[in-house]
Amino acid sequence: MNHQTKEPLLKRVLDNPWLLLVLGVLIPFLSYTAWGWIELVLVQPAALP
């Protein structure tokens, strides 16, 4: 696509499926998966009575 005539930022973002793909994969991976995974790793083994 030709961006010589500057379009508004939002429109450029919306017209770029590859950027959307990257953001769409990255955000849930960081916010849900990576953060959640770290939480699991940090769980301490229960002390046996």
Binding site: V13, L14, D15, L23, I27, P28, S31, E39, L40
Partner: protein, 573 residues
């Protein structure tokens, strides 16, 4: 009819593309023949899995309806596994691939990137789905669709799911490759149409979904083969819901795209503001997936900050997106209707809608059930504090039968009333029955959802074979299970009618080649009406504003009633 359809996607005449395409006799658009073939394959497979899931649904409902209590205990869990997978995964994913192949070709005047890739994806998906169903029915995978470790199924079960996931991913790849080629070759001008944009959002979410599927299923498969150690059950649950929750958000995007499409086909409605609609899809892409965390709200190994961030603050941006769509779809319809001259009062336009068009009726019911029942219960149940009084009760099942069944499945059924005449090029048989089908299915599922929700409010658990053993439930809970059971009879009848109509039409419907498809009915235009006449009237959508106010009041009442219910758990006197 044909004029509205043509206006939806203006076709550009490109002689080079002719050989492998045909011109649609109804819309004048170019249809890629390869895409058409795979739309057919995927749509037919989807309907077959819907049928399997529907038969299972009947058996389940007649078992949970305690007064009937049909199945034996082992078969209850077997059929529950079968139902979950065939409905939530197979019916939906196959249909979605069909939607994707449509959305990246015809509206863009483009051709499918590769038939070989499409074959590869389809073959994997079918093989996988057959493996899963075989091993479930053989009784070697009674693990429910979530297959939480340490429950263990036969390796074929996991392998089948992996194949379905990689097959879908292959189809999604084909979609993106087609988008790329279409843009490179400039088969269209400017931005992609809204339907394609919505499908792109769905495809992006599908990538996230299927990556999680691969991460969780591959080590579980190798464990089931005895090659590796057992993955941690808590880790399994977390990654699994990256698959299980998000596959539903793929549907949500596809469903919303279908709403816009059908609104336009049946009433000529155009989104009031395209940028707002697209931005709402963008919010889905960015924020809807993290809500997977609501499945872990009572799991001890993840902290409150993670839970609340992922299910509330950040996720409400995705809820906002749903509310934007829920407003703009009816608003655009209202505007179109008023411009057609249906201006009487607040709701005169509602009366004049093409209710006899099954695609339109199905789409309206889908918006209403998804928004009023699915959406309101979803936000409420997904609140960390409230979740504790609802987790693992039938309220959850009641919620998602309003979203994935009353919302998505009904929207997909509605779309079929256009897909079959346009792609299979046969007009529907038994049209009077088709006109009532959405009402039967939608009304039935409404009762199912309400019955489950109220029973759940009284504490009836989900995934339980026999609630009478505990002796804890009285007549009211049983009554609600009866409501669910009666609703299920209607919904399954609607589902079977749908399958019958589709199969009957594909086999024996009258061919419509060389002429436009038989019209289902569109909104009429009154004398003196002028398109665009209300473009500057800020109160042109007052009916929708009134409906929205009703929605927000319902939402607030339900939400606060639940906080009250939570507070009542520990009364301080």
């Amino acid at each position: 009819m044909s004029s509205t359809l043509t206006a939806t996607f203006p076709a550009s005449p490109d002689p080079a593309a002719r050989a492998l395409t045909r011109k649609c006799d109804t819309t004048g658009l170019n249809v890629c023949l390869e895409a058409e073939r795979f739309i057919k394959f995927n749509a037919v497979s989807a309907v077959v899995f819907l049928l399997i899931g529907g038969i299972a649904a009947l058996l389940l409902a007649l078992t949970r309806w305690q007064a009937v209590h049909l199945l034996r205990v082992d078969w209850f869990y077997r059929i529950l596994t079968l139902h979950g997978l065939n409905m939530l995964i197979f019916w939906i994913l196959f249909f979605e691939v069909a939607v994707l192949y449509f959305a990246c070709t015809t509206p863009l005047n483009a051709r499918l990137f590769s038939a070989k890739v499409a074959w590869a994806g389809f073959a994997q998906m079918v093989t996988g789905a057959l493996m899963v169903n075989y091993i479930i029915l053989k009784g070697q995978a009674d693990v429910l669709m979530t297959s939480y470790l340490p429950l263990l199924a036969h390796p074929l079960f996991y392998l089948g799911i992996i194949l379905v996931a990689t097959g879908t991913l292959t189809g999604v790849f084909n979609f993106f490759a087609t988008l790329y080629v279409a843009r490179r070759d400039r088969t269209y001008e400017g931005s992609v149409p809204l339907v394609t944009f919505g499908a792109t959002a769905a495809a992006i979410i599908a990538v996230v979904t299927l990556l999680h599927g691969a991460i969780v299923m591959i080590p579980t498969f190798t464990f089931s083969m005895g090659w590796t150690a057992q993955p941690d059950p808590m880790w399994y649950r977390m990654i699994w819901w990256g698959l299980g929750h998000q596959s539903q958000q793929v549907n949500v995007c596809a469903m919303v795209a279908v709403w816009y499409l059908i609104a336009q086909l049946a009433t000529g409605a155009r989104p009031i503001n395209e940028t707002v609609c697209r931005t709402a899809f963008l919010l889905y892409v960015l924020f809807i997936n993290i809500a997977s965390a609501h499945h872990l709200l009572v799991d001890p190994a993840v902290g409150a900050t993670w839970k609340i961030w992922n299910t509330s603050y950040a996720m409400y941006l995705a809820v906002l997106a749903s509310m934007i769509h829920g407003f703009t779809v009816p608003a655009s319809v209202e505007l179109a209707m008023r411009e057609k001259g249906h201006t009487k009062g607040l709701f005169g336009w509602v009366v004049a809608l093409p209710w006899r068009n099954p695609a339109f009726a199905g789409a309206v019911l889908s918006v209403l059930i998804f928004g009023f029942i699915g959406g309101i219960t979803g936000v409420t149940l997904g609140t960390q504090q409230i979740n504790i009084i609802a987790h693992n009760t039938l309220r959850i099942t009641g919620h998602f039968h309003a979203t994935v069944v009353g919302g998505t499945s009904l929207a997909f059924m509605a779309l079929a009333y256009y897909v079959i005449p346009l792609i299979f090029r046969r007009d529907f048989i038994w049209r009077p029955a088709a006109r009532i089908q959405p009402w039967l299915f939608g009304g039935g599922i409404l009762l199912v959802s309400l019955g489950m929700s109220f029973a759940g409010s009284m504490g009836v658990p989900r995934r339980i074979y026999d609630i009478d053993q505990s002796g804890a439930f009285g007549a009211a809970a049983h009554l609600m299970l009866g409501v669910m059971g009666l609703g299920a009879l209607a919904a399954v009848a609607g589902l079977l009618l749908f399958v019958l109509l589709c199969v009957g039409t594909i086999l024996a419907g009258e061919r419509n080649e060389g002429r436009p498809m038989a019209d289902w009915g569109v909104a009429s235009t009154l004398a003196g009406a002028r398109e665009g006449s209300l473009a500057d009237d800020h109160w042109a959508v007052k009916g929708t504003v009134a409906l929205t106010a009703v929605f927000l009041v319902c939402f607030a009442v339900y939400y606060f009633a639940n906080w009250k219910a939570l507070a009542d758990v520990w009364p301080v006197r």
